[in-house]
């Protein structure tokens, strides 16, 4: 099992061959730059007819970063989209490895097909893999609908939303505050129901007075010290 990033050049087949050659060279340059941050022992680069695929071993976060960087690097004139999946892949070849096959590649290619230019789509399996590798990181991937590929296979798609993680943090913070207030209120409520409102309030007032008297004494002692010096 590995993560597969499929970078697909849009309408590649419809373009003149000279433009295909230019786009291909551009894509290779983008892949060279973006794969540089991944350890060589963790990535395998594959050629596709209309793009390139990068198989990333044991690093879903790295795969997602790579896809994002490739898209941002490709904004300048390279109509590329990215599809990411996590699935089974296998090296094949007669004697020496010369190709890779597997569902991971097929799904990544299908998912890339549904991504508009300069956008990223990931599969549910990749979201699960990301969640497994880095719990919480999957929160940046939000649903982007479902799509059916030419083999009538349905894919649940997700896209990246940089603000989704911040929104989630905010939700959890608000929930934390609300939960804290609720628990404190429950404690107070329990005390009031047990001792009665007047008794609790007079107890609180007594504690308040005692605390303020203690505070006043400390302030005075401090002022005295300052005067002596």
């Amino acid at each position: 099992m590995a993560s597969v990033v499929f970078l697909k050049v849009h309408d590649f087949a419809r373009r003149p061959v000279s433009e295909q050659a230019r786009l291909r060279a551009q894509l290779e340059a983008v892949v060279a730059v973006t794969t540089a941050e991944i350890d060589r022992a963790s990535r395998i680069v594959l050629d596709a007819t209309d793009g390139m695929a990068i198989v990333v071993l044991r690093d879903p976060q790295g795969a997602l970063r790579l896809a994002g960087r490739a898209l941002s690097a490709a904004v300048a004139g390279l109509p590329v989209s990215a599809g990411v999946d996590h699935g089974a892949v296998r090296v094949i070849g007669n004697g020496k490895p010369d190709a890779m096959v597997g569902d991971g590649i097929a799904v990544a290619a299908a998912v890339a097909q549904f991504a508009p230019p300069s956008e990223l789509r990931v599969s549910h399996a990749f979201r699960d893999a990301l969640s497994d590798a880095a719990p919480g990181a999957e929160s940046s991937l939000v649903p982007a609908g479902t799509a059916t590929d030419s083999g009538l296979r349905r894919h649940e798609l997700f896209t990246r939303d940089r603000r989704a993680a911040a929104r989630r943090r905010m939700r959890y913070s608000t929930l934390s505050v609300a939960a804290a207030l609720a628990l404190l209120a429950a404690g107070i409520g329990a005390r009031v129901s047990e001792q009665g409102y007047e008794s609790v309030m007079s107890g609180v007032a007594g504690k308040y007075r005692a605390m303020s008297a203690q505070g006043e004494r400390r302030v005075r002692a401090l002022a005295q010290k300052v005067k002596l010096q």
Partner: protein, 379 residues
């Protein structure tokens, strides 16, 4: 077909038999009226009267259409006629070798292969402009002449063959291994089908291997419709990346994204040819006396099962060194073996709280608030 050589067919005096094909026999013959040596192709007509009438009509139409094609890369048709059970077509007699024979010796040098493809594409472009589709472009219908000239044979009459490949949906004309996917499917074909067939021929010239091999016709048909080819440069190091693109575009399964015009294909192939010649020129100039030894890859007549490769097969990129990762996949360490072999697992609550900051904040806050609430309630 009779083994006996006829003395004369029509006005043509038969000199010798040149070969036998699915349609009939080809003779070297003499046209006494013009004192010209021609190739006389005979076609056996159908036995039943209705079928024969229809066949004769179509044959005459096709022969007339082919007769209008006068181009340096198309065999010239001089005459058409009928005698008894035979129809015949008198054509230009060519002295050369069929591409099919040449391919038996192995792949062609890239420049030579592209040069042949350019000439065939030019001939096709000329015919397509006049509304004529060959429908059976294959090495057996391409003749290599002296001085590097190339001619397409059987224009127009290729589609008249009686022993055509048949599918369950109907009759399909052509040779399955070189047919386009739409032709295989029995759908209407146009000039783009010839472009696909030329793409297959070019691929085989460059690699020396059969692109759509198979044990039987259904398997070949499946391969034509589904199997994607590996770039020719993987088999032939002389093939340029530009040539890979040209072949890929010619071999698109969908005719809408294939080359739409044979002249466009010819133009791109000329660019490849210029690149190939430019590439080989300096080497030749620098070492004119050195004999180059070129190691040719073995002819890959792959077994049928291997030919139907999964459609997800992607070749390793030659621009990037992936050997370290491949080594890791081939011989995984203990950790790799465990982690590369398993599917993602659901995240447990404990792992979630340990690794995910937002739920951890909620959990810790609730814990502290619960302790404070308990203190308030019970202390």
């Amino acid at each position: 077909m009779s083994r006996k050589k006829p003395g004369q067919i029509g006005r043509y005096k038969i000199l010798e038999e040149l070969g036998r094909g699915a349609m009939g026999i080809v003779y070297r013959a003499k046209d006494p009226a013009l004192d010209r040596i021609v190739a006389l192709k005979t076609i056996v007509l159908a036995d039943d009267a209705d079928g024969r009438k229809d066949y004769q009509k179509r044959l005459a139409l096709e022969a007339r259409a082919a007769g209008r094609l006068t181009h340096p890369n198309i065999v010239t048709t001089f005459d058409f006629g009928e005698e008894g059970e035979l129809a015949y077509i008198a054509m230009e007699l060519l002295e050369g070798v069929e591409l099919r024979e040449r391919l038996k010796q192995g792949p062609l040098p890239a420049a030579e292969a592209v040069d042949i493809a350019v000439q065939v594409a030019d001939g096709l472009g000329f015919a397509h402009e006049r509304g004529i589709v060959h429908r059976d472009i294959k090495p057996g219908n391409i003749m290599l002449l002296e001085r590097g000239d190339v001619k397409i044979m059987d224009f127009g009459i290729a589609r008249m063959r009686s022993e055509d490949f048949k599918t369950s949906t109907g009759m399909v004309l052509g040779t399955p291994r070189f047919m386009s996917p739409e032709q295989i499917a029995g759908m209407p074909v146009d000039h783009r089908s010839d472009i696909f067939s030329l793409g297959v021929v070019l691929y085989e010239m460059l690699t020396g291997s059969m692109l759509f091999a198979g044990e039987d016709t259904p398997q070949i048909a499946h391969n034509v419709s589904n199997v994607e080819h590996a770039p020719p440069s993987r088999h032939n190091p002389d093939a340029t990346s530009m040539l890979d693109f040209v072949v890929a575009r010619a071999l698109k399964k969908d005719p809408a994204v294939r080359y739409q015009d044979a002249y466009e294909l010819a133009a791109d192939l000329r660019t490849c040819l210029a690149e190939l010649r430019h590439r080989s020129a300096p080497a030749a100039e620098m070492a004119p006396d050195v004999t180059r030894t070129v190691k040719l890859e073995a002819n890959e007549n792959a077994p049928a099962a291997a030919v139907i490769a999964p459609e997800t097969r992607l070749p390793l990129s030659r621009q990037f060194d992936s050997s370290a990762a491949l080594q890791r996949v081939a011989k995984p360490g203990r950790g790799d073996r465990r982690l590369l072999g398993r599917s993602p697992r659901p995240v447990s609550l404990r792992r979630r709280l340990w690794n995910d900051a937002a739920p951890r904040l909620l959990f810790v806050t609730m814990l502290v608030a619960a302790a404070a609430g308990s203190y308030i309630a019970f202390a």
